[in-house]
C-alpha cells in the first residue's frame, strides 16, 4: 500500500471513529444522567461526568414498578403476537404469490404494489379503525393497524421464493405425493431462514418501537400501554407514573426525582434493544441490503 493510500485509510478510520462516538455518546449521556443524584441534576443539569452518582431515579422507578412491569409485559406480548401473526400472513401471502401459474396472480400482485404507492393518510385510517372496527382502547389497537404486514416485505419475500427455491425440488416433492402445505412447511420454509429472520427482525423492531398506535387509539386504557406509550405520555405529564391507575398511591414524603426519571425510563426502554442487538446485528445489516436491492 502506498504512503498516499495509507493516509486515506488513516483519515477514513478517524472519521468513522468520530461517527461511532457521535452515535454512542448521546446514549452515554442518557445513562450517566440517569445515574446522577437528583440534587446534582437540579443544580448542574445532565452531564457526562456527574459530580455525584446516585440511584434516586431508579429507586423511584422501583417504587412504581407495577406500571413499568405491566408496560414491559405489554411490549413483549404485543411484539410476540404481532410478529407471529405478521410473519405468518406475510409468508403465506408471498408464497402463494410466487406461484407463476396462479390465475389472478397479476391482479393481486398489483394490489400489493399499489398499496406501496398510494397511502390514504392518517384521517381515513383513524376513522375506519375507530368507527368501523371500534379498536379504540383494545389490545387490537396496538397489534393491527399498519404494523402487521406491508407490501414491501411481501414483495421482498416473494422474490426470494422465486429466485432461491429450486423449482425441481418442489416438483420432486409433488411427485412423491406431498401436498402444497407440506411442501411449504418441510421444503420451502427450511430453505428460507435468511429471509424469514430478516422479516422477523424488521417487524419486531417496528412493534417494539411503536408509540403511534398507542397514541392514536389508547385513550382511557393506560393499563394497555407499552413501554413506548409510557415514555410518550411522560413527555407531557411527568406524573404519569404516580397517577397511573395501576400504581398504588405513593405515600407523601417521597419527592419525585423528576429530572432523573426521564432519563432512567428511557434507559430502561433501551436496554433490551441494546442487549439483543449485537446478536442480531448481522441480520439487520443483511435486511437493509436486501431491502435496498428491491426498493
Amino acid at each position: 500500500m502506498s504512503k498516499y493510500n495509507r493516509k486515506i485509510r488513516i483519515v477514513s478510520n478517524i472519521v468513522l471513529f468520530a461517527m461511532t462516538l457521535l452515535c454512542v455518546l448521546p446514549l452515554i449521556l442518557l445513562v450517566t444522567s440517569s445515574f446522577t443524584a437528583e440534587e446534582v441534576l437540579a443544580q448542574n443539569g445532565y452531564s457526562f461526568f456527574p459530580q455525584k452518582w446516585g440511584l434516586d431515579a431508579y429507586l423511584y422507578l422501583w417504587e412504581t414498578r407495577k406500571t413499568l412491569l405491566q408496560a414491559y409485559k405489554m411490549t413483549f406480548l404485543v411484539t410476540l403476537i404481532g410478529v407471529s401473526c405478521g410473519l405468518t400472513i406475510t409468508t403465506l401471502f408471498a408464497y402463494g404469490l410466487s406461484k407463476r401459474s396462479l390465475p389472478g396472480r397479476s391482479v393481486i400482485a398489483f394490489m400489493v404494489f399499489f398499496s406501496m404507492l398510494f397511502n390514504g393518510g392518517l384521517i381515513p385510517s383513524y376513522l375506519m379503525w375507530t368507527q368501523t372496527f371500534h379498536i379504540k382502547d383494545t389490545i387490537f389497537a396496538l397489534l393491527v393497524p399498519n404494523l402487521m404486514m406491508n407490501g414491501f416485505s411481501v414483495i421482498v419475500m416473494r422474490s426470494f421464493f422465486q429466485s432461491s427455491i429450486p423449482e425441481e425440488l418442489l416438483e420432486a416433492a409433488k411427485l412423491d405425493g406431498a401436498g402444497e402445505w407440506k411442501i411449504l412447511a418441510w421444503i420451502v420454509l427450511p430453505l428460507s431462514k435468511p429471509i424469514l429472520s430478516t422479516i422477523t427482525l424488521l417487524t419486531g423492531l417496528g412493534y417494539w418501537n411503536d408509540w403511534m398506535n398507542g397514541m392514536y387509539y389508547l385513550v382511557g386504557r393506560t393499563d394497555l400501554f407499552t413501554i413506548q406509550n409510557v415514555l410518550n405520555r411522560m413527555i407531557s405529564s411527568m406524573d404519569f407514573l404516580r397517577n397511573s391507575n395501576l400504581t398504588t398511591a405513593i405515600e407523601s414524603g417521597i419527592r419525585t426525582p423528576s429530572i432523573g426519571i426521564r432519563m432512567a425510563i428511557a434507559v430502561i426502554a433501551l436496554i433490551p434493544i441494546l442487549v439483543v442487538y449485537p446478536f442480531l446485528q448481522k441480520g439487520f445489516v443483511k435486511g437493509i441490503v436486501i431491502g435496498s436491492v428491491k426498493g
Partner: protein
C-alpha cells in the same frame, strides 16, 4: 372448441391453485382492510365531519375545507416546512451518507464490521427515546448544553424549546444522525458490489485511492444514487411524524419551524378538532404524493431502467 379447452384448463388451474388461494387469503384480507378500505374516507376533504353520522353520512361542503385551509397562514407554513426539510435531508443527508460509505470502504474488513454496528444504533431507537436524548442536551434548565457548555463559557442560557430559529438546524441534525447509518450501509453495499477488477486495473495504472474514488466508485454509484434521490423526491410531501412531533416535544412556540403536513393533520384531528382543514391537507398529501411517486418512477425508468419500481 379451443375456447372450451381453454376454459377447462383455467378451471383445472384454479382447482389446483385452491391451496394457494387459501394461503393468500389472510394477507390479502389484511391488505384490503388496512390499505384499501380507508380510501373512501378521503372524501372527507369535501365534507364536514359529523361523528354521529360517520364518513358517509356527513354533509358535503364542496371546496370549503380547501378554501379555509389556504386562507390561513398555516397552509403556507406546513407546505414550506415539509418541502424545505425534505430538500435539506435529501441534499445533506445523501452527501453525508455517501461520504461515510466511501470512507467505510477504505477501512479494513474487520473495522468495517465494527463501524457498521455502531453507526446503525440510532436507527434502532424510537423517536420517543430520541426526543428524550435530545432533551438531555437541550433542556432549558437541566440540559447539558446550557449547563456544561454555555454557562462555563460565559454565555447566557438558550431556551431551546421556545425559540424556533434554532430548530431547522436541530431537526436536520437529528434526522441525519438517526438515518445516516442506514443509508450509508445501503451505499456501502453497492460499493462492495462494484467489480474488483476495475480497482485492480487502476492500481496497475498507478491511480491513487482518491483518484479511484473519483473515477470508479462515484460514477458507478450514480445509478443507485439517482434512484435513491428520486424515490425521496417522490416522498417529498411526507415527513417523519416522530421527528417533527416528538423531538420538539410538541412545543407550540416552535410550530413556525416544526409544523409539517403530517403534524398538522394529526393536531387537526386529535388536538384542535379542526378536522376539515386537516382532511384537506391529508387529501392533498395523498393525491399529490401519489402523482409525485409516479413521476419519480417515470424518470427513473428513463434513466436507470433496472432500478424502476415498475
Amino acid at each position: 372448441m379451443k375456447r372450451k379447452t381453454h376454459n377447462k384448463n383455467l378451471a383445472k388451474r384454479i382447482r389446483q391453485s385452491i391451496p394457494f388461494y387459501i394461503m393468500i387469503l389472510p394477507g390479502l384480507l389484511y391488505l384490503l382492510i388496512n390499505n384499501y378500505l380507508p380510501l373512501p374516507g378521503l372524501q372527507l376533504a369535501f365534507k364536514r365531519l359529523n361523528y354521529a353520522e360517520g364518513v358517509w353520512g356527513s354533509p358535503w361542503v364542496g371546496l370549503k375545507n380547501f378554501k379555509y385551509l389556504f386562507r390561513s397562514p398555516d397552509s403556507w407554513i406546513i407546505i414550506r416546512n415539509t418541502l424545505l426539510y425534505n430538500t435539506a435531508f435529501i441534499c445533506l443527508g445523501t452527501a453525508f451518507s455517501v461520504t461515510i460509505a466511501i470512507l467505510l470502504n477504505e477501512c479494513s474488513r474487520k473495522w468495517q464490521k465494527r463501524y457498521q454496528t455502531f453507526i446503525l444504533i440510532p436507527h434502532l431507537l424510537s423517536y420517543v427515546v430520541v426526543s428524550y436524548i435530545v432533551y438531555a442536551f437541550l433542556g432549558g434548565e437541566n440540559g447539558m448544553i446550557n449547563n456544561q457548555l454555555l454557562r462555563p463559557l460565559g454565555f447566557s442560557d438558550i431556551s431551546w424549546y421556545t425559540e424556533d430559529k434554532y430548530w431547522p438546524f436541530i431537526l436536520v441534525f437529528v434526522n441525519i444522525w438517526k438515518t445516516f447509518g442506514y443509508s450509508s450501509i445501503i451505499y456501502f453495499a453497492s460499493i462492495i458490489g462494484i467489480d474488483r477488477t476495475y480497482y485492480e486495473a487502476a492500481e496497475v495504472d498507478g491511480a491513487s485511492a482518491l483518484r479511484q474514488i473519483r473515477s470508479i466508485t462515484i460514477p458507478l454509484l450514480k445509478p443507485v444514487l439517482i434512484t435513491m434521490i428520486l424515490l425521496s423526491i417522490g416522498r417529498i410531501l411526507y415527513s417523519d411524524f416522530g421527528l417533527f412531533y416528538q423531538v420538539p416535544m410538541n412545543s407550540g412556540m416552535l410550530f413556525d419551524t416544526t409544523n409539517t403536513i403530517d403534524t398538522f393533520v394529526y393536531r387537526g384531528l386529535m388536538e384542535s378538532n379542526d378536522v376539515g382543514r386537516a382532511a384537506a391537507a391529508n387529501f392533498i398529501q395523498s393525491v399529490l404524493g401519489f402523482f409525485l411517486v409516479l413521476t419519480a418512477n417515470r424518470i427513473i425508468r428513463k434513466t436507470e431502467k433496472e432500478h424502476a419500481l415498475f
